[in-house]
């Protein structure tokens, strides 16, 4: 589920970075208002806990395979949505930096896909709803399982939208959705079960931890309206600005339009789908965009040099020069690297 840099465009990556940064700033503000600083070391250690917990292999009964957890929901339940979101964000940054698990430009996408849906949607709207009449083994279990499943579905769907809007893959929307959603349904179910087991255990052993978390932030504190409005405005402004900068490449605009439509109509999957396919049709008419219209694009030979993202004119001469020059570039790069390492080795030998 971690998105890599290679599959996104700068407009999508930049917009999502801005959106996630906005959510992070909002969370930081909330933490400052609501909590004492005692929580910060707790957040740090909990982040490390999720890291460790991700490495536990849980045997899945009757399948012979094993699963592990993402941890976003667990963090929300134990720390509350704001601290949970920030903790998730720092886990994802460490994964990106130290394990190259998810790219740095795609970092905003990953934080949004795995942090926003769990901490700001599934936790307040689903988990809190199930546990509104007090905690019990049953309410914790149902709440965790359903919240995790839905959060993962939304996250996986965001991956699909972000990847397609970046325009690096040829996968049709429907195929991609069919590929992602069922897999994440299974993953979500297992993660939900594990989350439920852990939370129930903690509740039985040390109920005060969960009760404190519940008292710390009641559902009323989270103004979903504010969060959503801010989000939509942010997406429109940033997406618009970025796509203006990247105007040779219509990804950003297409994305922000679809994103805005997507967030306002999320309850109606048909609506999103409709919007999406409409957009796809529209983009096919954009002359310098080769989504569906390769024939026209080839005719645009004159403009091809300027318009990035366009299929370059298929001219045998150009291809030969490109191949030759490309090979030379690689050879040159290799030689430079080799010479540097050689001189380094000589230097260290001389020092000895």
């Amino acid at each position: 589920m971690h998105m890599a840099d290679a599959l996104i465009s700068p407009a999508v990556g930049g917009t999502m970075l801005a959106v996630s940064a906005g959510l992070a700033v909002y969370s930081v503000k909330k933490i400052k208002d609501d909590m004492d600083e005692k929580k910060i070391p707790l957040m740090g250690v909990m982040g490390a806990f999720v890291f460790a917990a991700q490495m536990i292999n849980f045997t899945i009964p009757a399948t012979g395979s094993s699963g592990h957890i993402g941890g976003g929901m667990l963090l929300s339940i134990l720390l509350g949505p704001y601290a949970g979101f920030l903790t998730m964000a720092s886990i994802l940054l460490i994964q990106a930096l130290f394990f190259a698990d998810g790219g740095l430009l795609a970092y905003g996408c990953n934080v949004f896909n795995m942090g926003f849906w769990t901490c700001f949607m599934a936790y307040p709207l689903i988990y809190k709803w199930f546990t509104r009449k007090g905690l019990s083994a049953k309410s914790i279990s149902w709440g965790s399982i359903i919240a995790v499943v839905i959060a993962l579905q939304l996250g996986a769907f965001s991956v699909v939208l972000e990847t397609l809007a970046s325009g690096k893959t040829e996968l049709p929307f429907s195929t991609f959705v069919l590929l992602m959603q069922p897999i994440h349904l299974a993953i979500g179910f297992v993660e939900g079960l594990i989350t439920a087991a852990i939370v129930t255990y903690v509740w039985k052993a040390r109920p005060e931890i969960l009760e404190k978390a519940v008292l710390g932030q009641a559902l009323g504190n989270i103004s979903m309206k504010k969060v959503l409005t801010g989000l939509v405005i942010g997406v429109v402004v940033v997406g618009g600005a970025l796509s203006w900068f990247a105007s040779a490449n219509p990804d950003g605009l297409e994305w922000s339009m679809e994103r805005t439509a997507g967030t306002t109509e999320l309850e109606a999957p048909d609506g999103v789908h409709q919007t999406f396919s409409d957009l796809q049709e529209k983009t096919a008419f954009l002359p310098d965009y080769t989504f569906k219209a390769p024939a026209e694009a080839v005719e645009q030979e004159g403009a091809a040099e300027e318009a990035e993202g366009t299929w370059p004119a298929v001219d045998p001469g150009t291809s030969v020069s490109g191949l030759l020059g490309g090979t030379m570039t690689l050879v040159l790069a290799g030689c430079i690297g080799f010479v540097i390492s050689l001189s380094k080795k000589k230097g260290s030998n001389a020092a000895v």
Binding site: H2, A4, D5, A6, L7, P10, G13, A24, I40, P41, L42, M43, G44, V45, M46, A48, F49, A52, M55, I56, N57, F58, I60, L78, L86, T87, A89, S90, L97, F98, F99, A100, G103, L104, L105, T169, E170, L171, I194, A197, I198, V202, A205, A246, N249, E308, G309, P312, V314, S319, L323, G325, G326, T329, L330, L332, A333, I336, G337, I340
Partner: protein, 266 residues
């Protein structure tokens, strides 16, 4: 588990070596990396030759910083499967063909190749950043460009405690596997109690950590040590690479090089 902790420590050790590239200002390296990544992913789906000059950055820095090639390649290898998994479907869905030097290939393979190259380049740039900077100095750079204090503090604390809790977990797994020989993973009955007790231990540890931090004068700021001001060497690094990336983005350097050569031959 052991492997991950080893990887983390390896990167820390690499970043701590007293070599010139590690001494560059962390902010400069962060900015260079961001420019590089943006340029790399901004290339269109079918552009391959124009992408190639970007290879210079990882190759030169890898050799200047003497990063262990085998470890770094392994790291890139871990990430490839997902990206390739998505990329390999491109040839399936894009049957438009193009001819190159008399060879007819599907455009899908071109996009696949372009995605793969981008994957290698972007992952390599990330590795360079962390392996020559280290998390503490990177955290300091993040503070300089306005990341919230709480977030950076939280990031550094999480990082610090990964190895502590990793050791704790390793002990628990060893104990569990001694009682359940030949069993793969943690079975269903123990899911809650196993991870739950690790969690409770973590909570208690967090409390002790906080008490210890307060006793040592913790006032809400994680000290990352002295970092010298940006000097002219740092600026030259940023300006030089920045200019190179921009030129590589605007001009198709290999194509120019190639046409120059073919022109000479003719």
């Amino acid at each position: 588990m052991k492997e991950s902790i080893h990887q983390i420590r390896l990167l820390d050790d690499l970043a701590r070596r007293p070599i010139p590239i590690n001494r560059l200002h962390p902010l400069v390296k962060l900015l260079t990396t961001v420019i590089y990544l943006t340029v790399a992913v901004s290339f269109g789906r079918y552009e391959i030759s124009a992408l190639l000059p970007l290879v210079f950055y990882p190759v030169i820095i890898f050799s200047l910083a003497e990063l262990p090639m085998a470890d770094m390649l392994k790291r890139i290898g871990w990430v490839m499967p997902f990206v390739l998994g998505i990329g390999i479907l491109n040839p399936v869905f894009d049957h438009q063909t193009v001819s190159l030097l008399g060879l007819t290939i599907s455009r899908g393979w071109l996009t696949f190749l372009s995605i793969s190259i981008k994957c290698i380049l972007t992952v390599a740039a990330g590795i360079i950043l962390i392996a020559t900077t280290g998390i503490d100095r990177l955290g300091a750079a993040m503070r300089m460009i306005g990341f919230p204090r709480i977030f950076v503090l939280q990031l550094l604390l999480t990082y610090r405690y990964i190895s502590v809790l990793g050791d704790e977990l390793a002990r628990m797994i060893r104990a569990y596997s001694l009682r359940a020989p030949g069993q793969k993973g943690i079975k269903r009955d123990a899911w809650g109690s196993f991870a739950g007790s690790l969690l409770l231990r973590s909570f208690d540890r967090a409390q002790r950590v906080y008490a210890a931090m307060c006793l040592r004068g913790f006032a809400g700021e994680y000290n990352t040590g002295n970092i010298a001001k940006i000097n002219s060497r740092d600026l030259r690094f940023l300006a030089g690479w920045g200019a190179f990336f921009v030129i590589a983005r605007i001009y198709n350097v290999p194509l120019l090089l190639g046409s120059l050569l073919t022109g000479v031959i003719k």
